[in-house]
Amino acid sequence: MTAITVLAPTGTLGYGFGADALKRGMDFKPGVIAVDAGSTDPGPHYLGSGEVLVSRFSYKKELTELMAASRAAGIPLVVGSAGGSGSRPHVDFLVEIVREVARDLRLNRFKLAWIYADIEPARIKKAIAAGEVKDFEAGFALTADLVDSSTHIVAQMGFEPIIKALQSGADVVIAGRACDDAAIAAYPIMQGGHKGLAMHMGKILECGAFSAVPFAMDVMMGFLKGDAFELEPGSIGRRASLTSVAAHTLYERENPFDQHGPGYRVDLNDCRFEQAGERRVRVSGAKFIPESECWIKLEGARRMGFRSICVAGVRCPTMITRIDEILAAAKEEAVRYMKPHDVQVTFHVYGKDGVMRALEPQKKIASHELGLIIEVVASEMDLAHAACHHISGGLLHTHYKGQLNTSGNLAFPYSPSELDAGPAYAFSAYHLMKVRDPYEAFPIHYEDV
């Protein structure tokens, strides 16, 4: 059986790949270029605000190279989780760039498809009322109020809507939020490849050459051949090794033996890895298991307020030894001062427990200086700024026991000392919603470009 070959140019569209690696990858005559562009990993800001994850410059540069390569070879290009969150503004943003690149490159006529993954609030509320929404890992219930307060809620599509777009003749597919593996696996599954293997291959390829050594955001090739698939990096300077591929199957997921999607799961318990040449690894054993119900994963974000921060250094040992009590008093005072407005004050104390907070096992401060970030989130930008300035000004001049220096306690690197970071977003949904079928929530649009 001839291989179904997939070229994954990078781990996240916009994060780069090597030109030589792309060229070498194209020499394998892939059937598709497929790339993941998003995740919840960078946080809720991109989903909440509608701002894209990577710069317009990078998206355009990479889409120009990938569209030129895919059009020259006459193969489709699939982008999953467009723009970072895969929400409507992100899909629209990439679609506009695709049109622009087509004009710039004077490409011959091709068919563009885009697939939205936004779920209407009314649809979700109906599902909540029907008992067809359940928590995934959020630890809270999704309520109608939370739905209404969310700026965007998307759901992860499986491979089915992408296959439908490809079967309708799309040459470029810009998909909204999609399961990382599905965007890569859609084409091989459409070609009749083993679904379990295609999904497992997609899961590894979605991070590009992160499964190679040395790892990088770069081109990774997948070859699906009957009862196994093989992986090889595009760049001759990298190789796929048993360790690099096995390590990657653990990455960013809780259960390495189980891979879920809407209406199916992939069982990896009997998975095997073999070295198949110096730079290539062969993987087999994945099983595709259809499920009787179809649940899609919702991801929502809401604006929790506005954030103001202040960065400062503390060098005096008389203050460092009393830092906990001084900060606790400053917080308590500020919360009282700002009444009736609520403010949420967080101190990040680098040199103490700034990175690990409650998980930090090292309780004793060993550093001669501390980096302090005062962070305030409030319902309005002005209030957050006011509270942040009140705290920094108060700490600057606070008196404490053992103090020798009475001229100021904080070393600010900036004037003004407060930086207004703008709207602050939080995840508002990470839940499962039951749908009729894998297509229901993901409308496809077509355009001849």
Partner: protein, 105 residues
């Protein structure tokens, strides 16, 4: 055999988000013998990991062993949801250090 720090035995010790509400730790050992030694020591068991991270054992959500990859995987509930108030590590990629210091018999 003298006790060894996990950091001196492993080829990879890392932490990372597994979605916005979980933090997952991967430990990869170089070979089957070291994997067996770490397994026998129990340092990557629920109680030991919870203690190293100042957590209750119930906050460890799962433990997996991948013998073929000489790997252990431990996942915990995030102390705060990703980017919620109190966030200190958006990607969760700098929380692995207490595991480096575990002593393997």
């Amino acid at each position: 055999m003298e006790a060894a720090r996990l950091a001196d035995l492993a080829v990879i010790i890392r932490s990372k988000n597994a979605g916005p509400y979980r933090l997952t730790f991967d430990v990869l050992l170089p070979d089957a013998a070291t994997f067996k030694r770490v397994k026998a020591s129990g340092v990557l068991g629920r109680e030991s990991v919870a203690k190293a991270l100042s957590l209750k054992p119930s906050e460890v959500t799962s433990l997996f062993e991948l013998e073929s990859a000489h790997a252990f995987k431990v996942t915990i509930r995030r102390q705060v949801g990703q980017s919620d108030i109190g966030e200190s590590d958006v990607y969760g990629c700098q929380q692995h250090v207490p595991l480096m210091e575990l002593l393997v018999a």
